[in-house]
Structure formats: C-alpha cells, structure tokens
C-alpha cells in the first residue's frame, strides 16, 4: 500500500505481510486492558502515597475493579486456548529461549541506543526482548493466579503462614511484570525503530521490509538471514561505521 508520511515529499509503498491473527490481537489488547487496571488498583495498596485512595468505600471499589479485571485476566489464556490451541502453543514455543537470544543480548545496546543495524544478528518471529516480555507475562499470569485466587477465597482456610508467602509472591510478580510492561510500552509506542510493532498488533500485519530487518530469520529463513547479516556487517565495516 501507498503511505504518505509526514515531512516527506513522496509517498512510500509498504508491502504488508500477516503476523498476528485476530484472536491473538484481541487477546493481547484484552490482556492489556485488564493488566493496566489490575496494576493500578493493586498499586493503590502498594504505594503509601496512594493510601487515601485505598481507604473506605473508594478502596473497596478499587478492590472490586481489581477482582473483576482479575477474572477476565485469568480466563483470557484459557479462552484463547479453547479457540486456537495450536496458535497459542506455537506462540509459547516461539517465546522459548534459543541461541539467537545470546546474540540479541550482545547486540541490543548498540542497536537500540545507537541505531547500529548491523550490530543485531537475525532474529526469529520474536526477538529475545519480546520473548522475555512474553515469558515474564506468562509466568506472571500463573503466579498472579496461584497467589491471587487463594488470597481472594482462602482467608481463614489456608494457614496465615502460607498466605503471607502468597502476598509476597503476588508483590514480586507485580514488580517484575510492571517493569517489563513499562519497557514494553516504551518500545512499542515511543521507540522509533519499533514502529511496525504497534501496527502489527493493531492490524495484524507487519511491513515486509520491517520483518526482513527485524525478524530476518522468520522472513527469510535461518540460512538466508545469516547470509544477509554477514553482508550487512561487511558493508558497515567498509563504511567505517555509522
């Protein structure tokens, strides 16, 4: 398709390729729509400066919102699994760590901070950063569920000594997942190199060029991707760096 970019004279052409199904995108956005209220309402109990919001009827309302969101948050992957089990499992497999991740970690500072495209080895459908985000969210989902459900229904049933651990782990999962979310949010929305990420999650398609650049292994296949990268590196070395 042809796109007129702001501040550019000519229109450019973007070739779109599919990346995410409708269900995947719906699940992602619903996840976001529940995760954010969960985090915010949870933080009201966490940050002392938010204490006035935690008190009395206001506090009870926020707790209620937390529970309603929690139910949806908890059911989401299950519903996803019911409708597209193979897609979900595929995604989970693609979140699992691989050798590419070491390369990503080594190249990330130069690529993301300095914009050196040749520093990043080819990545699969998800790069290490995206895998980290995915895995953290999956693990967090389990931790939130396994701690949150007993915290909701188990007072007086499970021993207080066990309950105290649940609270601690619920807190830890929150800290890790919210930090991860903040990074994810920045990269998805604000980082210039990642522009297609948001588009793909909104519309399900990513630009072919973008994919060729960021997810070369997925776009070209592993062997071809490596060849292109080697060429890029040689080119950069010749030019003496950017």
């Amino acid at each position: 398709m042809t796109v007129q970019l702001k501040g550019r004279a000519e229109a450019i052409t973007i070739q779109w390729i599919p990346k995410y199904t409708t269900l995947e995108r719906a699940a992602h956005w619903l996840h976001t729509a529940t995760f954010v209220p969960l985090a915010i309402t949870g933080m009201i109990l966490y940050f002392p400066f938010l204490q006035p919001l935690a008190q009395g009827p206001a506090g009870m309302t926020f707790r209620l919102i937390h529970r309603v969101a929690a139910v949806i948050f908890g059911l989401l992957p299950i519903v996803y699994f019911i409708f597209q089990p193979r897609r979900l499992i595929l995604n989970i497999r693609e979140f699992l760590p691989s050798k590419d991740d070491i390369g990503w970690l080594k190249g990330a500072p130069a690529y993301y901070l300095l914009g050196r495209h040749e520093a990043m080895p080819p990545q699969g459908r998800f790069n290490a950063g995206e895998k980290m985000n995915g895995l953290i969210m999956i693990v967090a989902w389990f931790v939130f569920g396994l701690t949150g459900v007993p915290m909701w229904f188990g007072k007086g049933v499970i021993p207080p000594e066990v309950f105290r651990w649940l609270v601690v782990f619920h807190d830890l999962a929150m800290i890790v997942s919210v930090c991860m979310f903040l990074v994810h949010l920045y990269l998805a929305v604000a980082h210039p190199l990642m522009w297609a990420g948001l588009v793909s999650m909104r519309f399900g398609v990513t630009s072919a060029e973008y994919a060729a650049e960021h997810h070369a292994k997925w776009y070209y296949g592993p062997k071809r991707a490596m060849e292109i990268w080697e060429a890029k590196k040689r080119e950069a070395a010749q030019k003496g760096g950017h």
């Binding site: 796109v3 970019l5 450019i12 052409t13 973007i14 009201i44 109990l45 966490y46 204490q51 935690a54 008190q55 009395g56 206001a58 506090g59 009870m60 926020f62 707790r63 209620l64 529970r67 993301y112 901070l113 300095l114 914009g115 909701w152 229904f153 007072k155 007086g156 207080p160 000594e161 309950f163 105290r164 651990w165 609270v167 601690v168 807190d171 830890l172 929150m174 800290i175 890790v176 919210v178 930090c179 903040l182 990074v183 920045y186 604000a190 980082h191 210039p192 190199l193 522009w195 630009s207 060029e209 973008y210 650049e213």
Partner: protein, 267 residues
Amino acid sequence: MARLAMLIDESQCTACRGCQVACKQWNDREGWLYSRTRNRGSYENPPDLSPQTWTRIKFTEYEGPDGFRWLFLKEGCMHCGDPACVAVCPTGALKQQPNGLVTFERELCNGCGYCTQFCPFHIPRLEVVNPLTGEAKSSKCVFCQDRVTNGLLPACVKTCPAKALDFGDRDEMIAKGQERVKALKARGYTQANLYGVDQLGGLGRLYVLIAPPEAYGLPANPQYPALANVWQKIIQPLGNVAFGATLLGILGAFLFVRRKIRMEEVR
C-alpha cells in the same frame, strides 16, 4: 505520653465471662443469633474470636507440677509494641497510638484482610459482607478506644467482679504483675509467670499466668512475622527502586535515542 496496658491476672480470673459479655454490650456485638454456638463438650463458647466476639475466655484443664489447675485465658488483641497489623495495613485504618493502643478506624478499612494474616497471634477477624466482591471490614479488640480516650476504663476491666483486670500506665501494670508473680510463687504456684513484657516490642496486654504460656495456647516466643518485614521493608523498597530505575532508564534511553536515530527509512 505514657504507654497504657491491660494487666490480666489469670490467677484471679474465675471465667465468669462478664468481660466477654460487657465487651459485646459496649461494642454492640451479637451473641447466639450470630454464632449459633453448640456445646462441644466444654464451657468454652464461642469456639473462636469473630467479628462479633472481640474477647473470649479459653478453658484448659492442666495437670502440672503443683497439681491440677483449671486455666482460664482472656483472649484478644495484644496491642503489640511492634504491631505487624499496622505495618501491613494499606489504608491506615489500623494505627498505633502514642498511648500504645492499636486502634481501628472502621470507615477507613477496605477489607483487604492483610491484618488477619500477619498477626502473630491470629487475632483480627474479617467481617465479610460479600465474599465475591471482597466487601469486608476488619474487627478486633481496641481496648475500648472510645472509653479510654474519655478517661474511662475499658468495659471488660470495669465489669470484672473478681478484680482480675486492671488498666493503666504500662510500667505500673508490669510492676504490679511482677509482684503478683512473686506472691504466687510464694503461695506454691511454682510456674507463675508474667507474659508480654518484652515480646514484640512489649505487649499492651499483659498476663499473669499460673502455667507456662504454651499450656494456655499462647506462643512462648511470638515472632514478628519475618515475611511482613521482608514484604514491607525489603520487597516494597526494592520494587520502588526497580520502578524508578525502569522509568529513568526508559526516559534516558528515549532522550538518547531521539538524538541518534531518526525514523527509519521505509521502502
């Protein structure tokens, strides 16, 4: 301001339950219509503290070195010097007052129930209005905060016909308790002891006991729940650091990258 405390002399208590009922009368608590108690083979009823029962008498038959004893214990909030419930309360409904009372402002409570889980003595009870929505309020003895702040004694102390209860300056209560332990030992109560002097920053509820605390079901060495410390004093500050670092890192990265990378050329 001097710290106040209650001295419960279990050597003088005759388990008449006057305190149990006086507390309910003053604090508008319910009785059988709420708890539906049955006789379970003991004089002890209700079987546990609850939102409607803030103090109760526990009965224990004890065969000790001095012979048979019928032990009575008036259970209720210990008003710890180092109250874990206050530390974990997210609304500030539970407060430790300058006079040592751990008070409770019901309007502020949002029913989260953390106090019920972190108390080393398992005292606060959650009055659950709706288990699904979580609407609830915490509930515990507050040493009749409304009476004490108006110069009156707690209802239970006023009622006790055996004069087993006293309330006042904590140092005076401790001194009185220690004298009592001495007198009891002289009378042949070899296991007499004063409970609550040093535990958990010193308890606001002191007991003169005639048997070891474990015989009464009291923890001999109650500990401030380590996880409360870990949670409040380690994880939460670390979490704040993590959030701060993440936000700063993101901001820094954003400013840095804007200078270095322009929007990627797209073909």
